[in-house]
Amino acid sequence: MKEIEARDVNFYYGDFHALKGISMDIPEKQVVAFIGPSGCGKSTFLRLFNRMNDLIPGSRLQGQILINGKDIYAPGVQVDELRKNVGMVFQRPNPFPKSIFDNVAYGLRVNGINDKKYISERVEESLRGAALWDEVKDKLNDSAYALSGGQQQRLCIARAMAVSPSILLMDEPASALDPISTAKVEELISELRKQVTIIIVTHNMQQAARVSDKTAFFYMGEMVEYDDTKVIFTNPRKEATQNYITGRFG
């Protein structure tokens, strides 16, 4: 069942045509990887799904993006409701300058949940889900900045998962991490796919091959090819894809 549909999406930063006529379907509870060289538009495309690009002045969208059949850019859509349903993990770990507990509880609190018992249950569940609970359970009131980079990134994943989204966007979640932390995050992704649909932008092709079910290759603002990950990495139909994954450019 398809959860996300993009229909002929064009996106402009001022005069710059960043995304050119992209259409794709993303099925439920799958991991989809976006790959491509820097500046190809994959992050821009990712940020359309939770309307993060709204913050950029002078940007413009044509076409439609539907989540569960509803156009998320239709007038009257509650952006905060949408973002509650579509979580996001960023390239660099960006915990708030608050305690570990408050970081995870933040999303619940801003969405009007005040039940302390429920919040602490949810925090524990999310931290367990992010494989961080055992490392932090004794120091929940310490500053999140006291954690290592990899722990911080897993904390950010826990924070995003605490509000129970159905889609999780990950914008190069492991690019700022060391190999061991990267492996943990990847492990986490294969764990989380049971609960949510994941779209992950990555520069690392091995990573895309390891974690994803489907892969889309972007180049110069166009989606060159979108297929099962196996097909993309073993038998791509387009020459550009072939060149990119074999490392001839990019």
């Binding site: 905060d80 949408l82 960006n94 708030f96 509000v163």
Partner: protein, 398 residues
């Protein structure tokens, strides 16, 4: 050749650093030595004595008691530990009430003897006369003079630097005035300053901000006399009408003027701090479904709190040290204020107003330097606070 130039530049920079530090140290040293001189000064005006009848057992009087006696607030020796006897005060200018010009002589050459005789004849009399006038063989008692004590200066409640025979240098009214005005100034400036900063950092479209920000920074460049003038012609009459005061010059007027003056500092620092809040934190908050206002109040403001706090402290520093505008609108009554609607006087205003009249090297002059020392410590403490807050901020962001 190039090496030589580089060496020259290096020496020049070192030298300028040294010279600057030296000058600063000299200024501080000067301030402290002059100020400390106050405590080596005597209570009774230099060169004068307080002469009593030889029967009178009273030997010591504090500066406050001397002032009370000569203001005729204290009229019996009983209050000073002496016999039940009315006090008669005698100042040199009273001499012609008691004696004719012939008796005193053309050059007052007989005045000393006459006064000594007068005091001898009046058991309740205390005479304030130049030491040199008193004949050596006169059988009189003198009040023992003592040094001005730090206690009287720092917690004394009366500031009468020009009173004779003994001046009062109680700095508490001035200190209280300074603190009151600064406190209320910050109380007014804070809500406005923060609202403006939040508006400019978060809400205002960039075009509005481009106009607004330079405008607010311009406020910093207006000379304080102009603020004082504005306060005197607009705020003072307004307060007088609104609160029905006998005089509009009051602590409140000073606070309002100071609040306006502290505003640019607070706004600029707070706005910069909020705009420097990392975009990634905002995005993280928004991506969790927080509204813009939730993001501002729960993430942006807390994360820039320490910068905002140092902006506030800097604003306080400006308020504490501000002289001219305050001098013009506060009414300058050196009494401990009971309400912000009363006239009061601040430390900087006192120094500015009185230094010109105080004879160099005298107790009054040195008392003003002592005020400068107090002011120095207050601002020094405030700067320490700023340092502490911003260093904590750096440690947190590491």
């Amino acid at each position: 050749m190039r090496k030589l130039v580089e060496k020259g530049v290096k020496w020049l920079l070192t030298l300028s650093g040294f010279v600057t530090s030296l000058v600063i140290l000299l200024i501080i040293g000067f301030l402290f030595t002059e100020g400390a001189g106050l405590f080596r000064k005597k209570i009774i005006e230099e060169g004068y004595v307080l002469a009593l009848n030889k029967e009178n057992p009273v030997r010591t009087m504090t500066a406050e008691q001397i002032k009370a006696v000569f203001d005729e607030d204290v009229t019996s020796w009983k209050d000073l530990g002496g016999p039940d006897l009315a006090i008669t005060t005698f100042r040199l200018e009273d001499v012609e009430k008691y004696f004719t010009e012939e008796e005193l002589g053309a050059q007052y050459e007989y005045a000393g003897e006459k006064i000594a005789a007068l005091v001898d004849a009046n058991p309740g009399m205390v005479a304030f006369v130049p030491e040199s006038m008193i004949p050596e063989n006169a059988e009189l008692n003198f009040i023992e003079d003592s040094n001005i004590s730090p206690k009287d200066v720092f917690v004394g409640a009366e500031w009468f630097p020009t009173a004779t025979p003994s001046s009062l240098f109680g700095m508490w009214p001035l200190l209280a005035g300074t603190l009151w005005v600064s406190f209320f100034a910050i109380l007014f400036a804070l809500p406005f300053g923060l609202s403006i900063a939040i508006y400019m950092a978060e809400i205002a479209p960039s075009k509005v901000r481009d106009v607004f920000k330079p405008l607010i920074e311009l406020l910093n460049g207006i000379p304080s006399v102009v603020y004082g003038f504005f306060g005197l012609t607009i705020i003072v009459p307004l307060l007088q009408q609104v609160f029905g005061l006998p005089v509009g010059e009051s602590g409140l007027a000073g606070s309002i003027v100071l609040a306006i003056m502290a505003l640019p500092t607070i706004v600029t620092v707070a706005e910069d701090a909020m705009r420097n809040c990392p975009r990634s934190l905002r995005e993280a908050s928004l991506a969790l479904g927080a509204s813009k206002w939730q993001t501002v109040s729960k993430v942006v403001i807390p994360s820039s709190m320490s910068s905002i706090a140092s902006g506030i402290v800097l604003g306080i520093g400006r308020a504490v040290g501000e002289t001219m505008a305050v001098l013009m609108v506060t009414g300058n009554a050196a009494v401990i204020p009971h309400s912000i609607l009363e006239p009061l006087r601040t430390i900087p205003a006192t120094i500015a107003a009185e230094l010109g009249e105080a004879p160099a090297g005298g107790a009054h002059y040195q008392a003003l330097f002592m005020l400068g020392v107090i002011l120095f410590f207050i601002t020094f403490f405030i700067n320490l606070c700023v340092e502490y807050i911003s260093s904590r901020n750096k440690a947190k962001n590491r």
